[in-house]
Amino acid sequence: MALRAEGETASPSEPSERVAGKTARPGRAGRILAVESADVEFVGITKEFHELTAVDDLNLKVEAGEFFSLLGPSGCGKTTSLRMLGGFEEPTRGRILLGGQDVTNLPPYRRDVNTVFQSYALFPHLNVFENVAFGLRRRRFDRAEIRRRVSQMLEIVDLPNYEKRQSSQLSGGQQQRVALARALVNEPKVLLLDEPMSALDAKLRRQMQIELKRIQAQVGITFLYVTHDQEEAMTMSNRLAVMWHGRIEGMGSPKDVYDNPTTEFVASFLGASNLLPGTIESSAADAVTIAVAGGATMHVPPQRVSRLESSSDVKVGVRPEKIGFLEQGNDVPASHNAIGGRVVVSTFTGVGNQYIVETAIGVSITVYAQNIGHQSAPRSGDEVILTWPIEHTFTVAPLPTSVEINETEGD
């Protein structure tokens, strides 16, 4: 597992109390023996289209051999960032480094990256073999070498004996494999993947996710993956960056970013979060005390507090799966936070139950309880007390009220 923490987000809502606890981590152990150098580096990249700023001062490092995802809703700048690395868009400001070399002004055909396009963009007039051989032919490899490499790559993507097929005779999943082979056969420094799963149905998508991870492990090439599907990004990546309005809102390993969201956007976009508005009252070494609207008091570990320096207003967050129901007659343990409410919706989902609990302050809290049956399930209308461990509580800086997070995605 690659856990890296340098080059964390440069967003203005970056927490002050967060950074200290996260820096020193062990370097990656693994297959790639080369010195840990950044394969891709965006330095202060900004892209403006007329009035619109698509990418806003992006700073990002991707290490060699990593599976890195850019995740965000449509229009967040993730695809534009990828296209700038591919050479299809020119940044308005900033530099892009590839293996330490400045490629900002190079045309696409002089960059050592290859792209798997969202629509695959296979050459309709060429058969599978010629599609895959296209890049090798442009670089004037000899015939025997081209034949050898293309066959080997079609083997890897599980399409042997498909050389003579026309691309129009292939299914969506097969076209995607050809697109992948066509890019990978050139052994680029970095493979760029622009929402490659979006045209596949759900079942095939899950299958291809596993396939793609296997192929990446096999070829050992850095993958830069763009997606709007947070589950996909978390499943596949070593590290990911959540983008919104052209900026990186959170970056790190999927577990890091999920467990320690740094902004309200990340908390809501990556998985689900319950967020309660509150004000910081006091800070101690072991816990920060926050007064939540409605009178309750909650404690948060200091290293999990993200906030704006200028304000003590925060939102207290907890993930739905971390919450439990307090059994009747018991007291709230000192290690837990608690809030009371009434169950309004209770849904059985097989693996568990999903509850929506309405609190006195009007904020609904979602709870996922696993179906392990040692607890009687509360029913709709029951008054309950929700508790969760202090260590699973975090805070984020609240967004200005005018900003709405649009989680839905139709690309």
């Binding site: 050479g87 299809f88 055909y109 990256v113 290859n114 963009a121 296979l122 007039h125 296209f134 442009r138």
Partner: protein
């Protein structure tokens, strides 16, 4: 289809030039005799049509390419500009072309006045005038299929080529040009076949020499009243056109024809 069937049956009849009455005689001999009489006109037509078609392809490819790739939001305006001259009647256009090419007209007159051309130089009445007229009159029939073919090329496929180390030159030769081939073939058929049977350009611009087969057919029907002869010449033209379309269908598939017509 009815006039066509009538024409085909006419080619096998024997007619009385004085009365115009025709009787079915299954006289196949009309075909070889017409060919031996008029093979020179067939060759002239073939030559004029071929040269003019090539000229049209060479001239309209850059125009169609530019409109398809760089026309932006004004594509339709540029296409309209290409078509506007052709809203005028075919014959009128050709007569105006006659003025343009006249011995002391706008072009030659000016050049002669500047002593860039000898005063005896002329274009009208030569094969060049006929080819110029043909090329001018059929330009949209080449430009439009080419435009459609170029416009249909997925820009992302072109991006994929650049991504795979293709320079702009390689992108053009390896992706754009191969994907335009059906359009080039359609343009060729739509231009070459009507040019082959055209007589207006030759009548107006070619003077008395350089007779094309279209003129012969017209004369057979309207001057010589040799209906069977004219009909059999037309039948030969039809066969040539069908052979061309058959070749197209075999090479590129019949479905692509529908996309360009």
């Amino acid at each position: 289809m009815v006039p066509l069937a009538f024409m085909l049956s006419l080619s096998l009849k024997t007619c009385n030039p004085a009365t115009g009455a025709c009787v079915m005689t299954w006289h196949w001999g009309e075909f070889p005799s017409e060919i031996s009489l008029y093979h020179q006109e067939f060759i002239t037509s073939l030559y004029f049509a071929a040269v003019s078609t090539v000229v049209d392809l060479v001239v309209s490819f850059p125009i169609a390419y530019w409109i398809a790739f760089y026309g932006g939001r004004r594509k339709n305006f540029f296409l309209l500009m290409l078509l506007v001259p052709f809203f005028v009647s075919f014959v009128i256009r050709t007569i105006v072309w006659e003025f343009v090419l006249a011995n002391n007209g706008v072009v030659l007159g000016t050049l002669k006045h500047l002593h860039l051309l000898p005063s005896g130089f002329h274009v009208l009445g030569t094969g060049y005038a006929v080819m110029a007229g043909l090329a001018y009159n059929y330009l949209p029939f080449t430009a439009l299929p080419l435009y459609v073919a170029l416009e249909r090329i997925d820009r992302r496929v072109l991006e994929a080529a650049y991504d795979l180390y293709a320079t702009r030159r390689a992108g053009f030769l390896r992706v754009i040009l191969p994907l335009t081939v059906p359009g080039i073939f359609a343009a060729f058929l739509l231009t070459f076949i009507p040019m082959f049977g055209d007589y207006v350009n030759q009548e107006i611009l070619g003077g008395t020499s350089n007779t094309m087969i279209g003129t012969v057919i017209q004369n057979q029907f309207l001057v010589n009243f040799d209906f069977a002869g004219g009909a059999s010449l037309s039948a030969i033209l039809l066969v040539i056109a069908l052979v061309g379309i058959y070749a197209y269908a075999r090479l590129l598939g019949s479905r692509t024809i529908e996309q360009y017509l």
